[in-house]
């Protein structure tokens, strides 16, 4: 067994991991990236469509192009990349964090670091998670698996497709399947509004004439060996109206029913999770409940755009480097989700410096105003106009917002609300 002793280990070599590692390196910390796949890039590598990098690079890139820009820098740096290596276990031994990983090339490598950045990304929810009954034929895939099959393996998953859920990957795969000559019969969304970005609804469905059934539940997948069809029914006032159920014949079902941060490794290390995001609870420095362990990207909360992942990951890397230098956050204030807000990340802000808090709306809102307040005292309001759950929102709060908070008391909580 080989042992490495860098200052920091970054778990995951996707957008988040690469951005965090580069920041650590810039600050003079030795750093190892552990990546499961051969090569860097993570899930971006199968996202052949454009739309990445508008914020980060001010141009429109494909997933692999976006990843390449970071990967080149990482490979040119002193960051050590252990790819094809699966993280087995993370242990918190106080000042020392121990990560065991294994690969075919190197066997088991034990990494003893003083800081860890978690950047493992997320996984797709599956049929069982959303409890769609029926038979279990071949031809039921998550949208991400279908994307891999088409874009990287170069195979056709099926000819007649129904997409369940209107998440972004599902919408993009509806278009991709159309491009390879498959007929996409429908996209079925249980909510009364789409789960994906508006631009994807337009570019992936409307431009291809693919019907979108909002407020419809999939009540059954059927077929003996291969999928033969699905049954869907509308929801009326929250209840299924089975009298208006319909059958859609198809040979393939793609599921795009949400993403879950993949935190099994974190949980094993004792990291406390936030039930609202399924990601770690982090302080103003993106540090988890385990001192020295940081989190960023989709393992922290599911992002809508990779550009925000990179932004957040850079901060996580910089904070990890600062922590290694012995710096600690100033006095912090707890942040929580208020009216119409699903979650906030991080759950603490530093009163002495600028903070960025990401959050999502719980509903489709028109003419929404963002309010940051403590009890009845409004610190800041921002006109947001339209807000919807599929789009991430953020607010920057700095020392000027926290002026004369002395009387607020130590149990004060900052609330982010959409009103």
């Amino acid at each position: 067994m080989t042992t490495l002793k860098p200052d920091a280990v970054v778990v995951g070599g996707g957008a988040a991991g690469m951005a965090a590692a580069l920041e650590l390196e810039k600050a003079g910390c030795s750093c190892v990236i552990v990546e499961r796949e051969e090569g860097l890039g993570g899930i971006l590598m199968q996202c052949a469509h454009a739309g990445f990098g508008l914020v980060e690079f001010d141009e429109e890139l494909t997933g692999p192009e976006f990843a390449e820009r970071f990967a080149e820098k990482v490979l040119a740096s002193r960051v050590t990349v252990l790819d094809g290596a699966t993280a087995l276990e993370l242990r918190d031994e106080g000042d020392r964090k121990v990560l065991d990983c294994c690969s075919a090339k190197r066997g088991v490598v034990r990494i003893e670091a003083r800081a860890v950045v978690l950047a493992m990304g997320c996984r797709e929810r599956n049929r069982g998670n959303v409890r769609i009954p029926g038979s279990r034929p071949a031809g039921v895939y998550t949208a991400g698996l279908a994307q891999r099959l088409v874009n990287i393996e170069g195979v056709v998953p099926g000819r007649r497709v129904v997409v369940i859920g209107s998440g972004d990957i599902g919408l993009i795969m509806a278009r991709r399947m159309s491009w390879i000559g498959a007929k996409v019969e429908a996209v079925v969304e249980i909510l009364p509004y789409p789960s994906g970005l508006t631009r994807n609804i337009v570019q992936c469905l409307e431009d291809f004439g693919i019907p979108l059934y909002l407020g419809h539940q999939t009540t059954r997948i059927f077929g003996k060996d291969r999928v033969e069809g699905v049954e869907i029914a509308p929801l009326e006032n929250g209840a299924l109206d089975l009298s208006r159920a319909r059958t859609i014949p198809c040979d393939t079902v793609l599921l795009s029913v949400g993403l879950v941060p993949e935190n099994e490794l974190s949980r094993g290390a004792g990291v406390e999770l936030n039930p609202a995001t399924n990601g770690p609870k982090v302080d103003s420095t993106l540090m988890t409940s385990v001192p020295g362990v940081f989190a960023c990207g989709n393992v922290l909360h599911v992002h809508d755009l990779v550009d925000w992942v990179a932004e957040e990951a850079r901060r996580a890397g910089a904070h990890a480097a600062a922590w290694l230098r012995g710096e600690r956050p100033g006095p912090e204030l707890r942040v929580k989700a208020g009216a119409n807000v699903r979650y906030v990340a991080p759950v603490k802000v530093d009163l002495t410096r600028k903070n960025r808090v990401y959050f999502r709306s719980l509903a489709v809102l028109h003419g929404a105003t963002l309010e940051a307040r403590i009890d009845r005292r409004v610190l800041r309001t921002v006109r947001k106009g339209h807000a919807q759950p599929s789009e991430m929102l953020s607010i920057e709060l700095g020392p000027e917002d926290f002026a004369d908070l002395a009387e607020a008391g130590s149990d004060a909580v900052l609330e982010i609300a959409l009103v």
């Binding site: 069982g128 891999r148 949980r267």
Partner: protein, 476 residues
């Protein structure tokens, strides 16, 4: 293939497998055939995976005698065959005082049957034994001899052991014709293959009635009774230590909360008589009922922990097993109606059928070379970091983790394929790859590529479970 075999066993589920393995200890030429592309693909793959405690049925039944006997055989089988089995114990929870009367009856029955260590429990005692039970529990029954087993792994191991001792396995062999040639039977398959054997064992599960008809033997009918299940994540909040039963009803043992040997949790099954032996659909209403019922026993059962649902069909032929020499067809043994507790009883069924064959005139001479042991197979998930490092030194493929959720390496998948499990489902049951929380979302394409490399199949030739269950249409 030799000209005439001594015995052909039709059906490679748990009964057929145990019978074939038992016969492999003798100087006999035995074939085991199954219509599916792999063994254990029928009732044996979708059930509760329980080694029962011997108190649910009266001792007058054949199934009870075989259950008690079979239960006691599992420790030795585990030593020989290295499959996941744990004697974790069973509790039956009573939720009100009237149910305690049924508990008393089960207890008396268990004692009469000779169930080992069975005890009546006060509320305090049962909550101490099983803290996951809800506050409504008023008492219950504890059967420390009950346990849990991974049913397909058990069948795979039994078949592997039988093959190691000379049994010939033919999969994809759907028996469609049987001719009595006087001293022998000639059994033909749909695809033209044929096997000639002196004796035939009908262990065809759901299709035992149809196979019996091929031989002009007893007329009976196998009624499928569907059981639906939910599988919960290994990180589920609801994780009992013991198998939790409700007080049974007239037609079934009720819906259980089962901590599986592999660390997940299973809730179910329902019990519904159906007509179609190929109907494995789950239904919304019944799945919801499972959750309600399971929560009445273990309140922490949560729908947010569900990772899969599935159903299995019990092959019911009345309320007892039907295992006997056929009175109508010569040299045929019927092994039918093996529903619960069939898995528990299966090792004893092997013994019982061996005795029936002897009674019928089959000469049994012990084989000096019989080796009941299988070499344990390394599993990365059950190995510590140092052990994995040693495995990788011998075979780098142990370091390539294919299934992240259940931590299954490429080497284990290759072993499965080389042992004949070359469908996605076969690999799933053999290795657990695709059986975890992502249900194959990340690893399916990797497994398909390993199957292609090992078997030379193309993308469109790899299937989920044989037949027309192809995964993709082909290349772009």
């Amino acid at each position: 293939m030799s000209a005439v075999r001594d015995v052909v066993v039709i059906g490679a589920g748990v009964s057929g497998a145990c019978i074939a393995r038992r016969l492999s200890a003798y100087e006999l030429d035995v074939a085991l055939v199954d219509k599916e592309p792999d063994v254990s693909f029928g009732t044996s793959k979708a059930n509760s995976g329980i080694v029962h405690g011997g108190f649910h049925h009266p001792g007058t039944k054949l199934k009870t005698r075989l259950e008690i006997q079979g239960n006691l055989m599992f420790d030795r089988l585990k030593r020989e065959l290295d499959f996941p089995f744990e004697r974790c114990g069973i509790v039956v929870a009573a939720l009100h005082d009237e149910e305690m009367r049924a508990i008393e009856q089960l207890h008396r029955q268990g004692v009469e049957n000779g169930a080992v260590g069975i005890e009546m429990c006060s509320r305090e005692r049962i909550l101490e034994l099983e803290p996951a039970l809800g506050p409504e529990v008023v008492g219950g029954l504890h059967s420390p001899g009950g346990g849990i087993v991974e049913p397909y792994r058990f069948v795979f191991a039994v078949v592997e052991s039988a093959m190691k001792n000379g049994v010939a396995l033919e999969t994809g062999f759907k028996a469609v014709k049987a001719e009595n040639l006087g001293e022998t039977w000639r059994v033909s398959a749909e695809d033209g293959r044929a096997i000639e054997a002196r004796w035939v064992v009908n262990a065809a599960g759901l299709y035992a009635d149809e196979v019996s008809a091929l031989f002009g033997a007893e007329e009976f009918s196998i009624k499928p009774r569907k059981g639906e299940y939910y599988l919960l994540d290994r990180a589920a909040k609801a994780k009992p230590r013991k198998v939790v039963f409700p007080v049974p009803s007239a037609i079934s043992k009720g819906m259980l909360v089962i901590p599986t040997v592999e660390g997940t949790v299973l809730v179910g099954p329902t019990a519904d008589d159906i007509e179609d032996k190929t109907d494995f659909e789950t239904t919304r209403e019944r799945l919801e009922r499972i959750l309600v019922s399971a929560r009445s026993l273990v309140p922490t059962v949560s729908e947010s922990d569900v990772i899969a649902s599935f159903s299995g069909l019990r092959p019911s032929a009345g309320d007892d097993f039907y295992i006997d020499l056929s009175e109508k067809a010569p040299r045929l043994v019927q092994v039918a109606g093996i529903q619960s507790p069939g898995l528990t009883a299966s090792p004893a069924i092997g013994e019982y059928v061996k005795d029936l064959l002897k009674k019928g005139g089959l000469r049994l001479v012990e084989k000096a070379s019989y080796d009941p042991f299988l070499e344990p197979k390394p599993r990365v998930r059950e190995t510590d970091a140092f052990g994995i490092d040693r495995l990788v030194a011998d075979d780098p493929a142990y370091g390539n983790i294919i299934c992240r959720c259940e931590r299954v390496s490429e080497a284990e998948i290759v072993n499965a394929i080389r042992a004949g499990h070359d469908t996605l489902d076969g690999i799933k049951y053999f290795t657990r790859a695709q059986m975890g929380r992502c249900q194959g979302g990340f690893c399916t394409y990797r497994i398909v590529k390993i199957i292609m490399r090992e078997t030379g199949k193309g993308w469109d030739e790899v299937t989920k479970r044989g037949g027309a269950s192809r995964l993709v249409e082909g290349e772009l």
